[in-house]
Symmetry: C2
Subunit: 238 residues, 2 copies
C-alpha cells in the first residue's frame, strides 16, 4: 500500500494566499523538501526538527483523518509541503481523493515533475526568488509548464522580499506570459508579535502594490498578501 509522509492535516480553514485565496479547504502538509530557502516558513517539514512527528499514511488513513476533522463540511483539499512533488507515492492518494469528488490544489516550487500532477485541479508553481538563496532550474520549470499546457488552472506565484526578487519575478512572467501570475508579499517577521506583524505586512503590501503599479511588465497580474497572517499571525494549524 502506497504511503506518504505527513506532518500536518488540519482544517477546514481558509486558504490565505495565491490563486485560491479565501477558499474553504482542508490542508495536508507533507514532509520533505529539495530546497532550503533562507526564509522558509515551514522549515520544520525538512530540517529534521519534527522528524519524530512524521506520519506515514495511506490514502485511507489520510481520508479518515480529513473526515474526522471536517465531517461533511468540505470538498476542497490543499496539498502543501515541503515539496509534495517529491513524492511519486502521492499518485494513489490523489486518485483516491478524486474518486471522493474532491477538488485538489497543490503548491510546489516546480523543481520536479510527477505524472499525477495533471490530476491536480489547481497547480501553483512558485519558483523561488534570489532572496531565498535558491536557484531555479528553468529547464525543469519550462518542461513542467509545457506538460501542464492544457491544464485549466495552473498559475505562477513569486514571493517578493526586495527589488532583486521583483526583477526575478519580471523574468519569470516574461518567460511564461500566458500563465496567470501572482506576486506575493514575503513574510520575514516570523517572530514578531501579531500587532507589529500586521502593520509590517500592510506596509510591505503597499510597497509591493506601488512597485507593481509602476511596472510595464506586470500588466495583467495579481498582487496579494498572506491573508492568514493578517488574521492569525504566524500561528500554525489554522
Amino acid at each position: 500500500m502506497s504511503k506518504i509522509p505527513v506532518l500536518e492535516i488540519f482544517g477546514p480553514t481558509v486558504q490565505g494566499e495565491g490563486m485560491a485565496i479565501g477558499q474553504k479547504t482542508m490542508f495536508i502538509r507533507t514532509a520533505g523538501c529539495d530546497y532550503s530557502c533562507s526564509w522558509c516558513d515551514s522549515s520544520f517539514t525538512w530540517d529534521g526538527s519534527e522528524k519524530e512527528n512524521i506520519n506515514w499514511m495511506t490514502a485511507e488513513d489520510v481520508w479518515n483523518r480529513l473526515v474526522e476533522l471536517g465531517g461533511d463540511t468540505f470538498s476542497h483539499i490543499t496539498i502543501s509541503g515541503g515539496n509534495p512533488a517529491l513524492l511519486p507515492s502521492l499518485g494513489p492518494i490523489v486518485d483516491f481523493l478524486k474518486d471522493k469528488q474532491m477538488t485538489l490544489a497543490l503548491e510546489t516550487q516546480g523543481s520536479k515533475w510527477q505524472t499525477w500532477l495533471p490530476l491536480i485541479d489547481e497547480v501553483t508553481l512558485s519558483p523561488k526568488p534570489p532572496s531565498s538563496g535558491m536557484n531555479t532550474d528553468f529547464d525543469v520549470l519550462t518542461n513542467i509548464i509545457q506538460q501542464l499546457e492544457h491544464h485549466p488552472k495552473t498559475c505562477l506565484k513569486v514571493v517578493i522580499f526586495d527589488e532583486k526578487d521583483l526583477a526575478f519575478a519580471e523574468t519569470v512572467h516574461q518567460k511564461f506570459p500566458q500563465i496567470p501570475f501572482f506576486l506575493q508579499v514575503g513574510n520575514s517577521w516570523l517572530n514578531a508579535d501579531d500587532g507589529s506583524l500586521l502593520q509590517h505586512m500592510l506596509n510591505r503590501y503597499e510597497w509591493l502594490i506601488d512597485e507593481t503599479m509602476k511596472s510595464k511588465v506586470f500588466k495583467n497580474v495579481k498582487v496579494l498578501p498572506q491573508l492568514h497572517a493578517f488574521v492569525w499571525g504566524n500561528k500554525r494549524g489554522v
Copy 2:
C-alpha cells in the same frame, strides 16, 4: 456617439475584493443605480449628492482618460457603479475596450440584462442580502445566469452582515451550485478611523470564516474581506 455617465476613473490600483482580488486594474465607476442599499458604500453614484460631477463620456473619452492615468502599465479594466448594467449605451464602450485587447471585469447586482454582458471577461453577480433592505428578483437573476451559462468567468458574491444574510447566501448558493461562490465581509463602519476599522474588519472576517467552516452548504466556496479597506481604510479613488 454613445455616451455613458461616469463618476470616477482611477488607477492603476488593486482590486480589493471578489474573484479578481489582488488584480492590477483600472476602475471606471458609472453613475446610477436601481437599488438603494442601506449600507451602500458608493451611494454618491445614485443619491444625487454628486450629480454635478457626472461626466458624459464617449468610448474615446474614457480611453483617453485611462491612458492619461495609466500610460502603458495596464491591460485590465473594472467597470463598477452604481449598477453599470443599467446602461445599454455601455455596449459600444465595451466593444472599444475589447478592441484595445483589454480584459474587462464588471460587477452588478443582477437586476438587469444587457446584450453586451457576455463580452465582459469576468462578471460578478452580487445579489443583495436582507440587511440591504432590497429584494432580489430571482426570475431576472436566474435568466441572467442562464444566458451566461457558457461564460467562463461568472461568479456570485454575497456581502454578509449578519445571520439572516448568511441564510440568504445559502439559498443563493443552493439555487446556483455550479457558479463559483464568494462570501464577503460587510463593511459597515464607514466613518470609523482606519485603526479601529482594521480591527473591526478582522473580527468580522474571523466571524464569517467560523460560520462558513461549520456549514455543510458552503463546501467549495471562498470567503474574503475587502482587502483595499485593510490597506487604505475607506479612502476613495485608490
